[in-house]
């Protein structure tokens, strides 16, 4: 059985149930139950029409749950047992589900969990494992999220920007557990890109593909982080790079630039260089200028200082860095890098050690500590 196919049907099936009159929370529960039944029963006896099967089973489960609920409350069941099935609105339903699961009233963690379950079709257990929390905690997070959006009308147009932020979080901040969150984020962004012509959706998809292409080269033996300049570029996935560049070029051609397209353009310029020395840093600085103009983001300014250091020399990079708040995350790491390029190993070693103290992940801390140790060994001669 193809679990990915099964999961890809999730939003459309929820959509059918909602259009038949089920509320979102109950429909989502019923579809999860149907998915679990499919996982158990399909390997031996797969249905010819998987979606039809899921709709039938999920609807039955919804009716059972509603009846049980109604009899507990001594109320009458008002839902028709044999509803008319609506014409092909599945695509719109799926888009509506993305909006609902990333509704601005939800916290980022809730929106991520709800999206992975209702759009991605992952089980609560899988999501809990992916985010290293107990299943009971994740179940509560999801049911609270469902209560939070229970008053939201399903047919209201939503905000694509919040959807993109949620997908970006799934891609960028997952743990490396059994569930491939980066792959899942790409799948969900691909589905979204097939349903909208929005340039930023394409931009985010390109950004993910271009970074995912480097995944094997990013991590060395023992989980060691390998910085871009040291990566073995023959291990980059050229198929993903080609797809990412194609998606990006089609988006850029429509001339509605946004932050994800600008970030993807930077990633594409890195992907385009056969060696680190061939990197077109002048163009990368120009894209950072666009990114800073679009977002004003301090992180973009910090990365711009690195690019300026490569394009115009470390002194220029340090001058760009001097304009930024030293309290920014990774400020000391960038300063250390530029000082070493400028020949000041003493300052670089001290800054790398300071940067290690402030690292946000163990892998970064180890990388920065190793840099400081390397310089200190050189300084001892």
């Amino acid at each position: 059985m193809d679990e990915a196919l099964l999961r890809s049907l999730t939003p459309a099936v929820i959509g059918v149930l909602v259009r038949r009159g089920a509320d979102f929370a109950a429909a989502e529960d019923a579809v999860q139950d149907a998915l679990l039944e499919a996982v158990r029963g399909w390997p031996g006896d797969p249905p010819r029409d998987p979606k039809g099967w899921l709709v039938t089973v999920a609807w039955r489960k919804f009716l059972d749950a509603t009846r049980a609920d109604a009899s507990r409350r001594h109320r009458e069941v008002r839902v028709e047992a044999e509803p008319p099935s609506g014409p092909g609105k599945a695509a719109d339903d799926t888009l509506q589900l993305y909006f609902l699961c990333a509704h601005p009233s939800l916290t980022p963690a809730s929106a991520v969990a709800l999206t992975l379950r209702a759009v991605g079709g992952l089980s609560t257990r899988q999501i809990a494992q992916a985010y290293l929390v107990p299943e009971a905690t994740m179940a509560q997070r999801i049911s609270r999220a469902k209560r939070t959006v229970s008053g939201v009308r399903f047919d209201q147009p939503g905000d694509l920007a919040t959807v993109l932020r949620v997908l970006y979080l799934v891609f960028n901040e997952g743990y490396s557990g059994d569930v491939d969150l980066a792959g899942e984020a790409i799948r969900l962004t691909r589905e979204l890109a097939a349903r909208t012509l929005d340039e930023e959706v394409a931009g985010l998809l390109a950004l993910m593909l271009l970074h995912h292409a480097r995944r094997r080269a990013r991590i060395g033996p023992g989980g060691r982080l390998v910085p871009l300049v040291e990566q073995d570029r023959s291990r980059w996935n050229t198929r993903l790079i080609t797809e990412g560049v194609d998606v990006l070029q089609a988006a850029l051609a429509r001339d509605r630039l946004g932050e994800f397209q600008a970030q993807a353009a930077i990633a594409a310029l890195h992907a385009d260089a056969r060696t680190a020395e061939e990197t077109d840093w002048v163009q990368i600085v120009e894209w950072y200028d666009e990114l800073v103009r679009l977002t004003g983001s301090p992180v973009a300014r910090l990365n711009r200082a690195v690019a300026v250091g490569e394009a115009d020399g470390p002194r220029a990079g340090l001058a760009a860095l001097a304009e930024l708040d030293p309290a920014l995350p990774r400020h000391a790491a960038v300063a250390a890098y530029l000082h070493e390029r400028d020949g000041d190993r003493v300052a670089a070693a001290r800054l790398y050690a300071a940067a290690a103290e402030d690292a946000a992940s163990l892998a970064e801390r180890e990388h920065l500590t190793r840099q400081a140790a390397r310089l200190n060994a050189l300084l001892r001669g």
């Binding site: 963690a109 809730s110 901040e173 980066a182 992940s361």
Partner: protein
């Protein structure tokens, strides 16, 4: 989404405002304190922010290797001056501010006279995974 460890100390933390040892409380005050802690954990689970918790015995030893083929060396019990951890709770929250808010809530557990202890808790961020998109 960030994980934080709340550390509670038997000793080693600054003295709280309501600084009466637990064995001087009334039994009802002890029960009220423990109930508060249980309710706190249950509430965190219902908000989807609970990861794990563990209380620790004050009894413990230092231990180290003494070389291959030799039994480990132990030292203890811990000296009276040593920082002594009483237990931890791991939480998974949206922000540092939320972690502070929860720590303050836990710190307000009732103690002697049924009044909040305002105990000092140690809040430590856990390392996350490195971000994929860094440039």
């Amino acid at each position: 989404m960030a994980r934080y460890l709340l550390l509670k100390h038997y000793r080693g933390a600054p003295a709280p405002p309501n600084d009466v040892p637990m064995d001087q409380w009334t039994p009802e005050e002890v029960s009220a304190h423990l109930q508060y802690m249980r309710d706190f954990a249950a509430r965190l689970e219902s908000t989807g922010e609970f990861v794990s918790e563990q209380a620790l015995s004050p009894q413990g030893t230092f231990v180290r290797s003494d070389g291959e083929g030799r039994p480990p060396v132990t030292d203890g019990p811990f000296a009276e001056t040593k920082d002594l951890i009483a237990g931890w709770m791991m939480i998974d929250v949206d922000s540092y501010e939320r972690a502070l808010e929860l720590a303050a809530e836990l710190s307000a557990a009732p103690g002697a006279g049924g009044k909040p202890i305002h105990e000092w808790l140690e809040l430590r961020p856990a390392y996350g995974e490195p971000e994929t998109i860094t440039e």
